[in-house]
């Protein structure tokens, strides 16, 4: 049973425009959320995180929004650049999951020059 879902397997965006990647979760106890970026043949790399006490966290071109009532988070990339083309995973964890992070299935972002 997938507790973290990324319903869009792929997304294409023009360079300079906004990319919005979405993630939904089912466990209301999740209190920490992360986004990872993965290039082919490499391991995922941490991008940005947010704890449940916040609804927004911003780091340069990347902003993560958390809507706890909807159990939804999103990653906004503005402006999108060709180097942002990668697979993006969201992940979540909670006190009652012990040491376990649950990952979504990933969204492949293509930024078109």
């Amino acid at each position: 049973d997938q507790q973290v879902k990324q319903n869009s397997p792929s997304l294409s965006v023009q360079e300079g425009r906004i990319s919005i990647l979405n993630c939904d979760y089912t466990n209301s106890m999740f209190d920490y959320f992360l986004w990872y970026k993965k290039y082919p043949a490499e391991g995922p790399t941490f991008l940005i995180s947010i704890s449940s006490i916040k609804d927004k966290n911003e780091d340069g071109r990347f902003t993560v929004f958390l809507n706890k009532s909807a159990k939804h988070l999103s990653l906004h990339i503005v402006p999108s650049q060709p180097g942002d083309s990668a697979v993006y995973f969201c992940a979540a964890s909670a006190m009652n999951t012990g040491n376990q992070f649950y990952f979504g299935t990933g969204t492949s972002l293509t930024v078109i020059p």
Binding site: Y32, E42, F46, S51, M95, F101
Partner: protein, 117 residues
Amino acid sequence: IAGITQAPTSQILAAGRRMTLRCTQDMRHNAMYWYRQDLGLGLRLIHYSNTAGTTGKGEVPDGYSVSRANTDDFPLTLASAVPSQTSVYFCASSRRAYRPGSTDTQYFGPGTRLTVL
């Protein structure tokens, strides 16, 4: 360069054979993890270790074992490989084990692509 290394990069293995995937980190992180990545399923946790000398089961532990004799190394062993264990395996580490309010992140190795025939 600090980070996580995994070996081998890729491996083709006959079903029934024993295989150990190696993982070493030099960041002195306490916690380490093994994930497998499968198409359509994302990353799933196999086993983890909060600190040297301790291990725990993740979401999909069956058919795998781990050990954590020291801080740096966290090998993953498939005692008798089966084709369903064909996957890409990622080792990861974090400074501390997850706890409420933690803002630690996980750092991933480059992965091992394993094919079991």
